[in-house]
Assembly symmetry: C2
Homo-oligomer: 557 residues x 2
């Protein structure tokens, strides 16, 4: 027997000693008491509780009801003074480092017009004279009701001396000034790579907007953030997530540099939010994991378990791959990112090493491509694979039932529906709206629904997403009664998709996602009961405290 | 108080309980008993012991002498049946992944002639038909007594269909066949980059050998090892190190991919040997550590604490940078890798973020360059910096005392002297041999000596190195009485340089390197007492068991 085994045996011997000392039963070391607690049990039923018994290593021993006797001796007890406690929310689809880097760059998300955007660019450039590039994002010509893409000339009038690069709100297009195009060597002769498009002006010159695959023509010239920048960006992102009530998140498209950042944070004891990482392709996955997913690290705070792939682009920039042409762009069906056999090959390479596969698919043709690939791969790769389709926004009703097969998980973002519904009607026409953002249908055909926000493309606030999921109304209550309200889900269904099923979608359901005994004690103290709140009130819910693994990691001031 | 603090308090409460249970004193949980133990104390004096008292987490409580009373109750006890126990050996300069990758490739280290080498190439090519490149190394035209470099034509006669690339024993030159040169696009017109040389034949064509900076012309075309290859290579290297009695090693030139491999091993509980990592430049150091060295990870098994830089090449390939021309190549003074300000800048960038700086310097001019840089930097970077010069092989006697200033550590490899002495005489002439491989002088001027093997350039066996350090004779006993025997060091001095001072050189002396109370219990069971063995016997010492952190991690079968 070696030291490690002996140590285990010794610890096993020590466990009952706390009883001798007159302490509480072995695993009930701490108590979060006097809460107005509400959660879902494993069957998805609402349960109410007034206390959470914890172990000293931050796991739930059990929930206590009002009448339940409290242990007499505790290592610590926190009195929550009757405030509402709920399980931590889990975002099944976000981009951690993008959120942080965006927090350090120019934010155009709330701009309502081109003029407002250009004035913010001017202010940011003046405030950051030392930055070699002005970087930002969040514009949306649809919101601006511009009727066209913005142009380089409109930026040149404000910043001419250094490059400006601003991503569209959906991340599927970018807007450059002339200095950026010069830095990238873009001319009228530059050809867009496959899967991309360079917008041209009437004079045939690049007008400044680069779509999907063409964005890379500019972005490869942007100086990379330094590791110091990345540390700062991560801490910004973590703060944003914890303050929104997100205790765990999928990170979709983790690069090696991102992973090294998460490890630095974990090594230094600064990692608070749980990250289920999906590598940005097969190569980073195996560079990190070698021949398999990593173990769970830092007490279930971090794991590289999957691979994110792309089938197509986004609807707003007409990069989504459709079966029939766009209603508002005859002849254009959007762009596949990969041929069928290329996608199949990548999925297979990842699955062979045991990585979970998550494929971005927005258009109905893209969703079909992924479903076809899963059908084929499921023959070879048996067992619990949990194939994920990210977004699954526009699905041919004929393909919908296929989500119920092979255990395909529909990883969807309620807020996209609220942001997109007008644009989606324009892009798709009425006929294709059946099967679009079809949450209820996904459940009906037997798919598992995992909800997220796609932050920073959208705000990470899970309660806004939750309210959207049960109403299909946007922030202004439009359209009244909900857009295609037959696709609403129930309050409990949405809750599950943001907690236990988001954990399931990341192979984490045995570690966190509920407050069942043995789970990590991840919970929130909030200012109202989300099961009693109206949708408008739910949208306004405020997180007061965020606890991860039995530790308070964020508090509102 | 949060859960973590509470847990600490609870554990503090638990500690004395083992006394209540009638167990041994709190920290004396295990005993390695009945050893014929010998070690150095902190003052460098030989101490003898018969037992090692350990904690359950693998740290030394104290050494026990023959008469010392053993605790009555122990969690475990191992009876070593009177065999010899010594502290684990520490290699202050090695290349972990290179050792492993070399173990998976063609080994020409023991070849005594060109003909023997080409027949091994033929056999390896036949045995590995699926490998896209034949890779290997270890040749030395000096050992072959060839009087010239080998040529591509000699390889073409054996392998014509795929590239062959074989590195010289010192890693400072490579030998390619024509297929490799074709794959790399090498022609008569190819110009060697700064710091490199392409050997040419009488016809002006590249003859197949590429020196120092020119090696990269070929190596950048070699397919990178896959993460799977890297895992396999690491495990090979670790086995080789542990079986040689090396319980901790500096890893000189750690790349990001290497680091990810070490982390995989650590995460999976497969990391046994301790690694003090020195990044292969400033960029990988900050990519990994961000703004500072990493903490010690995996119970003191891994840390990225420093940066490896290069001032020059090697003596064998005349890449070492000398103050005066080579004795056997008039007009050639070798090659600096960096201008003074470039080296200074890199050292400063690393030191600014708190990384330790280790610079390879072989020639006397290179050593002067680094000493000049340290003089300048020491003004800015106060405190305990432990600037390292790696190899410090040929030093101008006028520069020698400068090693005693600014706390410069001389990181030297005894075995190089045994391998090089004939070649060094040819390259340098008699006059420059004072100050070459000058171990005793380094101690005399007040430098700290850290010994290593430079594996896989040389065999990692530390006992061969130890025997060399005290004799300055090679494996065949040549030259009799030692080459420049005034530079021999004492048995204890060499031992210290391979244990506590090698730990000191890696900022690890408070964690491992001796068997003092509180140190990690890293020790060896060996077949003879190295303090009583003749040099020849010391060279033949066999490791029977290797223990790291109180765990047996290797055993001879």
């Amino acid at each position: 027997m070696n030291v490690r085994q002996m140590r285990r045996r010794a610890l096993a011997l020590l466990a009952p000693i706390s009883v001798l000392l007159g302490a509480s039963p072995a695993l009930a070391d701490a108590l979060v008491d006097n809460v107005d607690g509400v959660a879902l049990d494993k069957q998805g039923r609402v349960v109410r509780f007034t206390g959470i018994l914890l172990t000293l290593d931050g796991k739930v021993t059990r929930l206590l009801a009002r009448g339940d006797k409290r242990p007499e001796r505790l290592d610590w007890r926190a009195d929550m003074k009757g405030r509402v406690a709920i399980p931590g929310m889990i975002d099944a689809h976000g981009h951690v480092m993008d959120l942080g880097i965006r927090a350090l760059s120019l934010d155009l998300f709330t701009t309502r017009s081109l003029a407002e955007a250009t004035s913010r660019v001017a202010a940011f450039a003046a405030a950051n004279p030392q930055r070699p590039w002005i970087l930002g994002g969040g514009w949306n010509q649809e919101v601006w009701q511009l009727g066209r893409f913005p142009s380089a000339a409109e930026l040149d009038a404000i910043v001419a001396d250094r490059p400006v690069w601003l991503e569209r709100a959906d991340g599927h297009a970018g807007w450059a000034n002339s200095a950026a195009m010069r830095a990238a060597g873009i001319t009228a002769k530059t050809v867009a790579p496959a899967g991309g498009r360079i917008e041209k002006g009437a004079n045939g010159q690049p007008s400044g907007v680069f779509v999907d695959g063409a964005m890379e023509l500019i972005t490869r010239h942007i100086p990379q953030p330094t590791p110091r920048d990345r540390n700062a960006a991560f801490l910004k992102a973590q703060e944003a997530l914890l303050s929104a009530g997100i205790t765990a998140t999928a990170d979709m498209g983790t690069k090696v540099e991102d992973w090294l950042t998460y490890r630095r944070m974990g090594d230094q004891g600064l990692l608070r939010v749980r990250i289920m990482a999906y590598a940005a392709g097969v190569d980073p996955a195996i560079a990190i994991g070698g021949t398999q997913p990593t173990p769970w690290l830092y007490a279930d705070k971090l794991r590289m378990g999957g691979i994110k792939l792309y089938s197509d682009g986004a609807l707003g920039s007409r990069g989504a791959w459709l079966k029939a042409p766009y209603a508002d762009a005859p002849g254009n069906t959007g762009l596949p990112f990969l041929k069928d056999d290329q996608l199949l090959n990548l999925m297979s390479r990842g699955a062979m090493d045991g990585f979970q596969i998550a494929v971005h698919a927005i258009g109905d043709r893209a969703n079909q491509q992924v479903l076809d690939a899963v059908d084929e791969l499921a023959v070879t790769y048996k067992g619990d694979r949990r194939w994920r389709i990210e977004h699954a926004q526009v699905v041919d009703p004929a393909d919908l039932p296929r989500f119920g097969r092979n255990g395909v998980i529909a990883s969807m973002q309620p807020i996209h529906e609220a942001s997109d519904w007008r644009m989606a009607e324009a892009r798709l026409g009425a006929a294709r709206l059946t099967g679009s953002y079809a949450w209820a249908s996904m459940l009906r055909v037997g798919s598992r629904l995992a909800f997220g926000s796609d932050y920073p493309v959208e705000n990470p606030n899970p309660f806004v997403n939750w309210a959207t999921a049960i109403t299909r109304e946007d922030a202004s209550g439009q359209p009244f009664g909900g857009w295609h309200p037959e696709e609403r889900v129930s309050r409990e269904q949405a809750w599950r998709a943001f907690t236990s099923d988001a954990a399931y979608a990341g192979f984490a359901e045995d570690r966190f996602g509920t407050l069942a005994p043995g789970q990590r004690a991840d919970f929130l103290i909030v200012d109202r009961d989300p099961t009693m709140a109206s949708p408008v009130e739910l949208r306004q819910l405020r997180v007061l405290e965020t606890w991860v693994g039995g530790e308070k990691v964020w508090e509102r001031r």
